[in-house]
Every structure is written in C-alpha cells, then in structure tokens.
Amino acid sequence: MTLNIVALIIFAIVIIYIGAYGYKISAKTAEDFMLASRALGVLVMFFFVLFAISSAWTFYGYPGYMHIHGPGYVYFIWGAVTGFTCLFFFVGPRLWAVTRMNRYISPLEALGERYEMPALRFVLAVILLIYIVPYICVQLLGIGVGLEALTGFPVLYGALYFTAIMLAFIILGGMRTVAWANVLFGLLYALTFFGALVGVIIVGLPEGGIMQAVDILKETNPEQLSVPGPHGQFTSVMLIGTIIVGFLSLSWPHIVIQTMTARDKAIFKYLPILLLVFGGLLFYTVPYIFGAIISPALMPELTGAAADNAVQLTIMEYLPGFGLVAILGVAAAAISSASIQLMTSSIFMARDIIHGFLKPDMTERSLVTWTRIVVAGIVFLSLGLAMWNPTALGLYLTDIATPGFAQWAPALIGGILWKRGTGWGAMVGTVAGSVYLIASFFVPQLLFDLHPVLPSIVLNIILYVVVSLLTEAPSEEVETKFFDEVDEYLSAPAD
C-alpha cells in the first residue's frame, strides 16, 4: 500500500511540474493557451494525436470485447485508422490553412464564418458539448475503477485524485501542456502495455508464446480465432457496420481541433503515414493480441462484465508485481484523452458560446481566464454525472455520444471541401441527424436493426446536400476566403 501511495504522489508531482513548466514558457495569449500558438512539430503532433485517440478503452473495452466475441472487433480499428488518415490528409490541410490565415481559434468559429450563419456555430457548440462531456465522465470513472481494483481506494477518491491533478496541469499550461503530457503519458502507456504483453507471454506461455495460445484456443474454443466469433456476433453485415462506425471517428472534435495546432503544412504529409504505421500496424496490435488471443487462452473463465478487465486481470494473475505500473499506464492514457477532450469542450464553451454570443467584447486576457474557469466547471460537472448514474452513462455513451460526434461531419467536411454547401444545409442536416439519433434511443425501431449512427448520418448527409442545392449559394467572399485563398496558401512553399 505504501508503495502504491508513493507511486501515485510521484505521478502527481511529475504531471503538475509539466503544467507549471508549460505556464512558465507560455505566451499568455488565447492562441497560445488554446492552440499552443499553432506551433507543434511532427513528432509531438503524432504522439498528441495517437494518444488522444487511444484512451483507456484500448486497455479495457477493446480487448475485453474481443475476449468475448473474437477478432471481428478489429474492424473498428481499421475503420478508425483509415478515418483519421482521411481527416489528416484530405481535410486537415485546408482546415489548418483557413484557420491559420484568419486566426480562427475554434473550428466552429471557422464554420460559422464559412456558412455565414453565426447561429450554426452556437448550435454545433451546444450539440458537441452534449456529446463530449460524457466521454470525460467515463475516463474519470474508468481511472477510479481501475485504482479501486488495484489498491482498494473507493472509486470516488481515485477519480477525484486524478481530476485534481488533471485540472492543475490544464489550467496552468493549456493546450501545449496537454500536448506534451500526451507525449509523456502516451509513451508511458505504450511501453507499459507492450511490456505487460511480453511479460505475460514469457511467464504464462513459456512453450511457444502466441502459437501456444493459439494451440490452446484451437482445442478449447476454436470459434475464438475467427469470425463471427464464439457467440456469432460478428456476421458479415456486422463487420461492415463496425468498420463504417470506426471510420466516422474522423469527426471526433478533439481530434479535429488538433489539426489547427500544426506548425506547418509538411506535418500533413508525415502524420497520416506515422498513424498508419505506428498506430495501425504496431500500437493497436498489442491490445489485439492481448484480447483476441492471449487472455482468452489464459483466462477463459472471465465472462460478462469481468471480461472488460481481461487485460488487467491477466496481468495481475501472471505479473502480480506489475499491477501498479499497469494501472498508472492506463491512468496516463485516460488522462491524456480526457485532457484534450476537456480542453476542446472548454474552447467550444468559452470561445464559441461565451465569447461568440454572450460577451463578444471580452478581452483576450478575459477569454483565457474564462476558458480556465470553464475547464474547472466542466470537469466537476463530468465527475458529478459519472458518480450520479454510471450505468445510464454507459448506455448514453454507446448509443448517443459516440454516434453523436458524427453528426457534425457533413457540415465540417462539406464546409471545407464543397463550395456549394450552405448554412441552411448544414443546419438542417445536423439538427435533423441529432434529433433522429436521440429519438432512436427511445424508439429503437427507428434504427432498422442498424448501428445508431448509420440511419442518422445518412439522413444528415441527404438533407445537407438537398437543402444546400435548394438554397442560395455561398457568397463570393466566402468562396474567395475558404477556397481560393486556401489553395494559394497551400501552394506556396512551406514556412
């Protein structure tokens, strides 16, 4: 127990030191606090993005689901990896260029101007906040549960402890600190996870490693090694739905906003390739091997909710001394994701709602102060929601929040790539898709046995295109600012 407490204190000191250092070197401007002065280089950007994507879900939910249903769930990863590649190569450079040229701090600010419709900016901010806050709740809850399993501390104490240290480093340093913390935490998490996999294989499967695990499964549970899996979950149609849902991850707002922190356009050449190689081929292979092969072979007795902890329980069984290291690695992953989600939601609230509508005359200094206040407000709101009803939260996350992010994708991608897209098209598509999504939560027949995101996003896209074509085309000024000038800017030699 003493060792656990010492490790947790050291962890907190390191994080707060990063925050304090970030505060010391910051320029104290809104652009610096919210977008790290748009100065992140390729390696920091890469780790920032990879570990913003890779939350505690890659340790619990993803391998846990494969532990029960076999390898089909890997299709979500292929969808997400290709989706993020498209975001950073097809959409990213243009969004980066237009926001940099016009000093937009939020992507919603850019869309409000692009569509010449300030109300759209407000509506998008509210919708995205509704979807993103539950994510922060789940991360905090996940850390608390993990710490409880390891140390016996109550969930609330663990969640409060990590909330406090996360708040400290975000409020002090803003986006730059979040980025650097992601690099540190991400590496800690990746090394821990990889080390645990190697350790479990050496200790638990000494006569052949992965092949020994495969042999065990061939004898005891051969369906675990192929689709549709032991319970027939991943049929062909289900695989198609899974990869499409994964692909729509490209609309996660906390990843979209990261495109605006890049130092120069060359980053958009390197980043997608790095994500494919180090994310798709290397990092995500670790939870795949753990969840689809190793834990089902070594811990077949884990079923139901216990399977969510399959990786952690396997580590605790075969590497008992490694448990604390593993949980700190997971906490690092959860904090790295939660911090960028928190930062993004605070920007939407402070820049797009408070500054954009309620206090348009506020100074830059006030904007930074307001953002800090909002960070604290949102994190305590999230913590309260997480403690209030975690079961309902889980359902909301799966059925509404995750598909909800996709609802701004047509407005975002259309606004950046399609000249003819109009404000009314974006407004009608986004609102109709969101309303349909929430309605389908209460009336499941509206889903036609599909994943919640599919019918709502199809409706959204159709309405966006049709209404855009039926309404007046965007002005010449918009076409110049968002298309012609962007082409010119991107065609120029790199800075």
Partner: protein
C-alpha cells in the same frame, strides 16, 4: 482533397485508396474462413494489415512525390 482529383497521379492515388478500403469493407467480410495467416492472424486482422500497408505506401508515394501542396 480538392486538388487531388485534378491530375492523373491524384486519380490513381484516390483509386488505390478507395478500392482497397471498399474491398476490406464490403467484399472481405463475405470471404472470411477459419484460416489463420502466419499461424496466428485471423482474416479480419490480416486483411486490415494488408490495406494499412497499401495505404501507407500510396500515401508516401503520392504525398512526397506528386501532391501539389508538397
């Protein structure tokens, strides 16, 4: 993105990306058996790796040698 379909290399690049993803999404799910590749990789994992490699190579070649904004 808007600049990519305006030249031949861009069209080839988009075709490679689109066709490989289309095959993984809509064709491969109907072809999987219980075969394991290299002794331990399931079909969904192995074919995802193949598409990821194809995308990586296509992106490298296009973005470093043909992308108008390179």
């Amino acid at each position: 993105m808007r600049e990519i379909p305006t030249h031949t290399a861009g069209k080839i690049f988009l075709a490679v990306m689109f066709i490989s993803l289309f095959l993984l999404t809509f064709v491969a799910p109907f072809l999987y058996t219980d075969q394991l590749y290299l002794g331990w990789m399931s079909g969904p994992f192995f074919y995802g790796i193949i598409v990821t490699v194809i995308w990586g190579v296509a992106l490298y070649v296009y973005s470093f040698y043909y992308w108008p904004y390179r």
